[in-house]
Symmetry: C2
Subunit: 175 residues, 2 copies
Amino acid sequence: MSADINATAASLLGFLHDGPMTGWDLVARAEQTIGPFWSLTKSQVYRELAYMADHGLVTPGVTGRRDAKPYTITDAGRATFAEWAARGPGEGTIRLPLLLFVTLGRHLQPGLLRSVLSEQRAQQAELLKHYLGLRQVLGELEDMDPHVLATLEYGITVARATVRWIDRLPPEVGA
Amino acid sequence: MSADINATAASLLGFLHDGPMTGWDLVARAEQTIGPFWSLTKSQVYRELAYMADHGLVTPGVTGRRDAKPYTITDAGRATFAEWAARGPGEGTIRLPLLLFVTLGRHLQPGLLRSVLSEQRAQQAELLKHYLGLRQVLGELEDMDPHVLATLEYGITVARATVRWIDRLPPEVGA
DNA sequence: TCATGCATGTAAGAGGTTACATGATTCG
DNA sequence: CGAATCATGTAACCTCTTACATGCATGA
């Protein structure tokens, strides 16, 4: 019946439940709230917005400052989103070159894997620190959505697990 | 100088360091060793193998049983792989609809998020059990590559972390 | 006024998925 | 003999990334 949408478009409809937003806003919002687990590029966003406007899932509002064009979700949009959500989250995509490096470790030049791992450890530790600071700040806000906090918590969990995993790697790895 | 390859092709070259393999073998190998963290489809594999054969990075051997065509990595292939590896692992891609669901939790029909989370918990717990069994078996093998074991360990770490994360989610999530 | 940030969009190409088509071999 | 598995490949399509092009607004 209603228009077919992909996961990217669906996520935009999801964000639009909070009120009208421009393409720019949507990119920023996604980046801030689920950045690492749900990437979006502006090209995708503008394309999906155009498609959805064509199909009546969103309606463009009056152009504001700097050509900003806010889109509002329609009833059809909400219905389409609900249908999409009812199908459940699919499998998702994970492609971690770091893990590929580890798997192929014995075919890499000596030392490369070790240096890659230690760099990665530093990055993850930094990220973890950043997340913890964010949790501190956001946790004190009055009407903070617990769902957004839960996503942050996942980031913390995974970053911490990754650091520990690197620390506990046996010395043969990368030797 | 040498041919430009993408990460997918590079991973195939990596696997081919272990000896000649057919496209079919490569898909199976990837699936078994880094399945969840490095997905490959056969279409991609056959495409990249053809491209690499064109550029002298691999050479097809004589067709064996059932049209099986084994590819052997060449010196140029090894050099190209080493160059690719020297550039380090890039950022990777992660796109988890589950996290999107959590983020958008308050816009989902009542109960949906909770049921999705409990299903996910069951899946992860199952996966964890599977990994632990695998570790048991592989750990006892004599000449098991510690790098492959390390990848498995990452899977265990992340699955465990995910289960705990779900268990510790505050009751407001999905309420 | 000049750099920076806001804001939209197009074009081209690379990468990835799905469906289709074909046939050999093995095992029960 | 029939089903399952091995094995290769093509075609169409969708999705995603990168580079390019344009211009308004703000603040130093």
